[in-house]
Amino acid sequence: MTTEAASLSKSLAQLRGEFDAIFAAPPPALKDERVSLITLRVGSQALAVRTLHTTGIARRTRILPIPTRVPGLLGILALRGALIPAYDLGALLGFPATANPGSWLLLANPEAPIALIFSEFERQLEIERSCLHESESSGSHNHLRMMARLDGTQRAVIDIPGIVEEIQRNVAVLTPAEE
């Protein structure tokens, strides 16, 4: 018990020291050769997105369902004072439909924000740019053509801009033209 208490105190002191060191150290040099990724799960699939392709991540709030023919559109939700359409990310990736799409949302497209609902948030990390590469499989989904090597495993990277473009196309098809 005494040993565990000492270990806990040591961890606390280390945290405090690292936090203080951030402000004590000079600004770090920019590292363009590294890429920031957010790892997450859509259904049972372990996937990743590039951090720069998102505008935010949050717990899912209540979604108000609306009647629509837009593929993957679940409804609208209120976030940071704005009404945002919420899409089922798994449905847009072609995964089988589920009753509960997930409890997390990912914001994209800062001009006309949309929320992509997914199952579980894992973490945010940085990898070498060289760890990103095109998928070698010809049968890959259109939005999962990039692969990232993380800790010795390969994980598909979701093409968020491509998904945004697909949504915009779907919406444009269903929106009547202005006279």
Binding site: E4, L8, S11, L12, L15, E18, F19, I22, P27, P28, L30, S36, I38, T51, L52, T54, T55, G56, I57, A58, R59, P110, F121, R123, Q124
Partner: protein
């Protein structure tokens, strides 16, 4: 049943049978004699008399015929008188014969005789009348020659048949009488022989029975004398052993006396120790009461510990709730730092430094989340330890209760021990008293045994005398056995 008779019964029964047989023999002899006499009497009185009367009848008939012939020749009346007298004699003789004849054949023959006599008489009457006529002699002679001779011959033939018949009866009666006499003589001889044979057998059986009974009695006496001799031997040996044992008993009684004294001293010590044990039991009782109060205090303290441990469990649950809040804050901080990083990346070159700070904040939030997990694990361990401690303390409380119960039993046991010690003290005193009485009794027994020693020696001498008498009795029975066996062999 006869085997169980006494010798007197057997002798009496034998003589009674002998007397009976002699009486039967005498009765049969008398009966046979009377039968023979009766047969001879009938032979003499009837059959012989009939023959005599037949001769008389023949003589009377001859006289009757001679008187008839005399009258025919001389015509004198005296012949008629003679003829009448002869006829009466004939009638008298015939009447006797008729009375004595006892067979139907005899009566038939007599009737024939009587019929021939009647015809002859009638013929004579007619011839007599003819004689009284003129030329009566010639007529009468012719009538006699022609008729009377035939009638006379028929009479003679019938009379001869009767005589022959009577003669045959006489011969038969003689033979029957002789046969009866022979049979009676044979029967008497048989009875006499049977009586003699029975007498011989009875004498032989009585002799054998007497010999057997005497021999059996002699054997009994002999075996009894041997047994008596053996018993007397054992008695003599026992008397010697008794004398020896009396000496040993005297010695043992002395040792018993010494042992009784030791027992009495031990009983006194036991009584003393029992009194000390009673005092110790009282002190132990007080100690148990003090210990019982201490255990009661322990039980109260254990209850307090249990309550404190339950409070500790509740506090640890509250710590868990606080940790949930901290964890939630760390997660939100993490999300905020990620969003800050995204915003910084969107801010271009100016935001990159802020992105670094956001990244550090994210790392800090990650580590806070990890620490909260560690703290949660520790809190869970604390809660488990508290639960275990509560259970152990409750077990201790139960153990204390059980200890209290056991101490109550110990208290009762000590009280019972104290009671038993009092009883033991009383018993030890009673043992002491009894041992004193036992010592007195042993001394009396010792004195009595000392007085009994001469009696045992006298008993030994008496046994030797009895042994001598038994030996003499055995010799006597042996001599008697030899006498009886020699007679039986003879």
């Amino acid at each position: 049943m006869i085997r169980s008779w006494t010798f007197q019964n057997k002798v009496t029964a034998g003589f009674a049978v002998m007397v009976g047989l002699v009486a039967i023999t005498a009765a049969i002899a008398v009966y046979a004699l009377q039968t023979v006499v009766a047969s001879k009497d009938r032979l003499v009185d009837i059959n012989a008399q009939n023959l005599i009367n037949a001769e008389k009848l023949q003589a009377a008939s001859n006289d009757y015929t001679a008187a008839f012939r005399g009258y025919l020749l001389l015509m004198e009346d005296r012949f008629l008188d003679q003829r009448r007298n002869a006829s009466e004699a004939y009638e008298e003789t015939f009447r006797r014969l008729d009375q004595r004849v006892y067979t139907s054949e005899g009566h038939r023959l007599l009737n024939n005789i009587q019929k021939a006599q009647t015809e002859f008489t009638a013929l004579q009457e007619r011839i007599i009348l003819l004689r009284k006529t003129k030329n009566g002699l010639e007529v009468a002679t012719r009538a006699v020659e022609q008729e009377a001779v035939l009638s006379r011959e028929r009479f003679a033939r019938d009379l001869k048949a009767f005589v022959d018949r009577e003669q045959n009866l006489l011969d038969e009666e003689k033979r029957a009488s002789t046969a009866r006499a022979s049979m009676a003589a044979t029967l008497l001889l048989s009875l006499a022989g049977a009586t003699v044979l029975f007498a011989a057998i009875t004498a032989l059986m009585l002799g054998r029975a007497l010999s057997r009974q005497i021999r059996s009695a002699v054997q009994h006496v002999q075996s009894s004398s041997v047994e008596l001799q053996s018993s007397v031997n054992q008695q003599a040996t026992g008397a010697k052993q008794t004398s020896t044992a009396m000496s040993e008993v005297t010695t043992t009684m002395s040792e018993l006396l010494a042992t009784s004294r030791q027992i009495m001293e031990s009983a006194q010590q036991v009584a003393h120790i029992a009194e000390e044990t009673a005092s110790a039991a009282s002190a132990g009782d007080q100690t148990v009461i003090t210990t019982q109060e201490s255990i009661e205090g322990i039980r109260r303290q254990v209850n307090i510990i249990v309550n404190h441990m339950l409070d500790l469990g509740k506090k640890s649950q509250q710590i868990g709730s606080v940790l949930d809040i901290i964890n939630e804050l760390a997660e939100q901080t993490n999300i905020l730092s990620i969003n800050a990083t995204i915003e910084a990346a969107g801010a271009g070159e100016q935001g990159k430094r802020f992105a670094v700070v956001g990244d550090e904040i994210r790392k800090l939030a990650d580590r806070v989340g990890g620490s909260t997990k560690e703290i949660r694990a520790l809190v869970e361990e604390i809660r488990g330890a508290v639960n275990t401690t509560v259970l152990a303390t409750e077990g201790g409380s139960k153990a204390v209760d059980a200890g209290m119960h056991h101490f109550e039993e110990v208290t009762r046991g000590l009280k019972r021990i104290a009671g038993l010690v009092v009883t033991t003290t009383q018993a030890a005193r009673e043992i002491e008293l009894s041992t004193k009485q036992q010592m007195s009794a042993v001394e009396q027994v010792n004195s009595a045994i000392t007085g009994a020693a001469p009696a045992s020696r006298e008993n030994e001498v008496s046994s030797a005398q009895t042994l001598l008498t038994a030996t003499q009795l055995a010799h006597l029975s042996h001599d008697l056995s030899l006498i009886v066996q020699s007679r039986a062999a003879a």
